[in-house]
Amino acid sequence: MLGRDHEPSDIERRRTMEQSRALPTEVDLSRPSAARVYDYFLGGAHNFEIDRQLAQQIAAMTPNLADTMRAGRAFLRRAVAELTRLGVDQYLDIGSGIPTVGNVHEVAQGINPKARIVYVDIDPVAVAHSRSILEDNPLTAVIQADVRDPAHILSEARETGLLDFTKPIGVLLAGIVHFVPDSDDPDRLMAALRDAVPPGSYLVISHSTYEDQPQEMLDAQKLSARTATEITLRSKAQVSAYFGDWELLEPGVVHMPLWRPDSPDDVDDQPERFGAFGGVARKPAAG
């Protein structure tokens, strides 16, 4: 009569898995958020006391970090501008954060007013904020989803009706993959995203690294654990692998400021001090 029971260990396993995938059901404003800390570093005021405290703590330990974030945002701007000039007119921006200024839609629509953008973030406040900003922009949509659940992201993105999955799509993963720990198998997630888009699509990734970094930089990363997620620093080889067999655009996976700078003057004497790699690759034709 009790034969229908499951093994407890089984249930245990499933339960924890389900939990890790569930989106936050509560909005906990007593904890800092990565999106709002990032906004602070970019000079925005879309943040709360708790976020600023953390940001100042990080800044005190490593003054470079603010520069890193600005450099990351600038990399994203250059990459999107480049892709839009190459003809890409639809973007899936995963981990989009709180768009203060220089958002993907501003950059892309500044070049091609018909460009469509679907923003994805896990942070409910960031999502609500994006929605309020984008209210009047019919060519954009915002999805609350977890990058670790690509199937969910893709089905929601299809649902918006903004993206045509038979045409090239720019998939943007700027400053987010380092929030995915190895235990969540980022290689698999990246592969799922690469597989979902047609040839001619582009993948943009920027990712923090431990390569060539001073110790205080590495310590600062640990502080990030206070936000919703800890950061996992990865090597250039690991980041390059996320592009799979796609063709990297020149100059490949490099320290961010080195990626197609607006002018040679913009490049810092020590581009490695920004502590993150950036790269862009194109999906080859099938076969």
Binding site: Q19, P24, N47, D262
Partner: protein, 716 residues
């Protein structure tokens, strides 16, 4: 004034903007290329310079520049500092070199103030706006989350209160926290009453062992779900059967938090199950347990092997039930079965025995404990007595009887199926013993014998196909001159495991199964072939072969063709073939055998009556038959012994038989001749020939050929 004003230098403005860009671009995030920033700042530089040099001074453009810096996200405090300083330090030199207005210093100060104000206002506005926006977003996100929570709570509430299934929530002490109306209704309590209870008060005596241990495991977090069938007492004391699923709900960190029970009322289903189970285990006509239940019980008894327990089974079957059914109809038959069932049940159940109906008119009584003395037989006898009283059905008075097969044995001696097979066999014995109202008790040795016979009978056809039979030949010798006149063909079975079997071990079986026809034909052909070879080799011996025909062969219409065929194939002259028939084969009614014998005789073969004197031959009838020889049955010759007073009688009988035969023109062969003395007496009585150990035992064909060869030799 305007004429005297120095020109605004475009390249100067660019230089100024270059310094500016360099100073601030790295301090703030600017969503533009540095070229774009410089272009923007060049514009600002020109506007500032124009404002400074304007005929009618206004600080307003500086205010706008301050605001524009903020709008371009150039909001770092350093940016403001540099911008203000540069106004006094570089604007005139870079952009309007040589400008020298009287109120120039005051103008610059006012421009500085306006730019700072514009910047501050814009920054303040922007900060307020962004703060408001993010607060609103946080609020909305929270609202949405809470709304989602409220929605899911409302959905849960709706499910909870509207569900037909009973739902109860308990804390880890077992205290019931809440139940829905369905649960309360099922148990006959109000919800408030139930909320006062602890689940332990819902314990039921009939709860399956281990239920509460499962519950303990659950609240200790060792398992997440338990599903059982459980009984409850309703408030009014009646019983409720439920299908109960209890699930553990945990805190986020995995600690047990509370339990949720889902209860479904399966009382009706359960009652139906019970009813179905009863129906499945009982005979609808008589209400007695059926064979399924009987076997369940029997199996249970056989499982109980602790001590040297004996179990008994009485297998009972009405005598002549089919006749009653046929004569009086099935309704009467059914009524009879009902009465018999009731009587058996009364007789058996009183003593605690299970009485079941196996089907048809077969009943079985399980005697769970018997001794070796035959308690089971007492049960059988009381059953027979119970059945024997007359039964009145409508106008009919029926005298009924039954037969019983009784088996009793140790529970360790075989399976239920073995036991019932034995009971079946025993019932058959009881019936075969010929009468009504009898019982028989199982006899393992008899059963073993019968089993062997059955196995042999089953093996016969294959044995014939595999050529496992052989024919041996026993000499028949002339009492007059001592010469071998004939041989009797005797079949043997060279059984692969049992060794050489004599005909009395299998001919009876062959007759029962009808295989005797094929077996007999095989012997006939084999013997004729052998005799044909002897005749070819030793024509002067004129050795006859004598072959037994069974009654079934005699009545087989093809026998004449078969005999003729055997002669044709072997080339044996017909008068060298003798067919031996038993008296019973001749006595079949209807005159058929006579016709068959005539036709056989017409082929020219000789006919003999085997074992003469054991049957009741009608001598007058004998006269009409085309017989040539009588073979005197063994017992007559056996009786002829010296010093035995009875031998005088035997001798007289043989004397009379020989005379009778000779009077009918028949020759006489004596069987079972074992001693020289017997030979002498038989010779004295005029008996023609003899057969028996004295003259030789059955032998292989080669041995016979050897005898013929030596007889041919001079002096042999």
């Amino acid at each position: 004034m305007a004429l005297s004003a120095p020109e605004i230098s475009t390249s100067g403005a660019q230089r100024y903007a270059g310094r500016w860009t360099h100073a601030i671009a790295r301090r703030a995030f600017v969503p533009m290329t540095s070229e774009q920033v410089q272009e923007l700042l060049t514009g600002h530089a020109v506007r500032l310079a124009q404002a400074l040099a304007a005929e009618e001074f206004s600080a307003e453009p500086a205010r706008e520049v301050g605001r524009a810096l903020v709008e371009a996200n150039l909001t770092e405090p350093d940016t403001l500092g540099w911008s203000l300083r540069a106004l006094t330090e570089h604007l005139v030199d870079d952009v309007v070199p040589g400008l020298a207005l009287p109120d120039q210093a005051a103008r610059l100060t006012r421009l500085q103030a306006a730019l700072a104000e514009g910047f501050a206002w814009a920054l303040r506005d922007r900060t307020f706006a962004q703060q408001e926006r993010i607060s609103r977003s946080a609020w909305e996100a929270r609202n949405e989350a809470e709304q989602a929570l409220r929605d899911s709570e409302a959905r849960f509430r709706a499910v909870f209160s509207g569900a037909a299934i009973g739902i109860g929530i308990g804390d880890l002490t077992g205290q019931i926290v809440d139940v829905n109306q369905s649960f309360a209704d099922m148990l006959g309590y109000s919800r408030d009453e139930l909320r006062e209870l602890n689940v332990s008060t819902l314990f039921h005596d009939g709860d399956a062992p281990g239920i509460w241990e499962l519950y303990e495991d659950l609240i200790e977090g060792k398992r997440d779900r338990v599903r059982i069938e459980k009984r409850y007492f309703r408030k009014d004391g009646s019983e409720l059967w439920t299908d109960l699923a209890v699930t553990l709900i945990r805190h986020d960190d995995g600690r047990p938090r509370f339990t949720v029970a889902m209860v479904q009322d399966i009382t009706e289903r359960y009652a139906l199950q019970q009813r179905l189970r009863f129906q499945a285990l009982h005979d609808p006509l008589t209400g007695l347990p059926n064979r399924t239940l009987f076997f369940e019980r029997l199996e249970a008894v056989l499982q109980d092997r602790e001590h040297d327990r004996r179990v008994g089974v009485c297998f009972l079957d009405l005598d002549g039930f089919k006749a009653i059914n046929d004569a009086l109809g099935h309704d009467v038959g059914d009524q009879l079965l009902i009465v018999v069932a009731r009587r058996l049940a009364e007789a058996g159940a009183g003593a605690g025995h299970l009485v079941a109906r196996m089907g048809g008119d077969e009943f079985v009584i399980l005697v769970e404990d018997v001794d070796e003395e035959g308690t089971a037989i007492e049960v059988a006898e009381s059953a027979l007595r119970a059945v024997a009283d007359p039964v009145y059905i409508g106008a009919n008075q029926l005298a009924v009887s039954a037969s019983v097969g009784v088996v009793d044995r140790f529970v360790t001696e075989g399976t239920a199926a073995d036991l019932m097979k034995a009971a079946d066999t025993t019932l058959y014995w009881a019936k075969a013993e010929g009468g009504r109202g009898r019982w028989a008790r199982y006899d393992p040795e008899r059963a073993a014998r019968e089993a062997t016979s059955t196995a042999l009978a089953a093996a016969l056809p294959a044995a014939l196909a595999r050529d496992e039979f052989v024919v041996e030949y026993q000499p028949i010798v002339s009492l007059g001159n001592g010469g071998m006149r004939a041989v009797e063909a005797l079949i043997r079975w060279q059984h692969p495991t049992l060794g050489l079997l004599s005909p009395d071990q299998f001919i009876g079986l062959a007759e029962e199964t009808g295989l005797i026809i094929r077996l007999g034909q095989w012997v006939l052909e084999r013997s004729c072939a052998e005799a044909g070879r002897w005749h070819k080799e030793f024509p002067r011996a004129r050795l006859m072969v004598s072959v037994n025909l069974s009654a079934r062969q005699v009545s087989d219409p093809e026998i004449v063709d078969q005999v003729a065929g055997a002669l044709r194939h072997s080339g044996l002259p017909p008068d060298l073939l003798q067919l031996e028939l038993t008296e019973s084969a001749l006595m079949a009614p209807g005159g058929e055998p006579v016709r068959a014998l005539r036709r056989l005789a017409s082929t020219g073969v000789r006919l003999a009556i085997d074992d003469f004197g054991t049957g009741y031959s009608n001598l007058a009838y004998l006269r009409q038959l085309p017989i040539h020889t009588l073979k005197l049955a063994g017992p007559f010759v056996d009786g002829m012994r010296a010093q035995d007073p009875a031998s005088v009688v035997a001798e007289r009988i043989v004397d009379a038989l020989v005379r009778l035969a000779h009077a009918l023109g028949l020759s006489v062969t004596a069987e079972s001749v074992e001693t020289l003395e017997q030979v002498e007496r038989l010779t004295a009585l005029g008996c023609d020939s003899g057969q028996g150990r004295h003259f030789g035992t059955p032998a292989a064909p080669a041995t016979i050929a050897e005898l013929l060869r030596s007889a041919e030799m001079p002096g042999g």
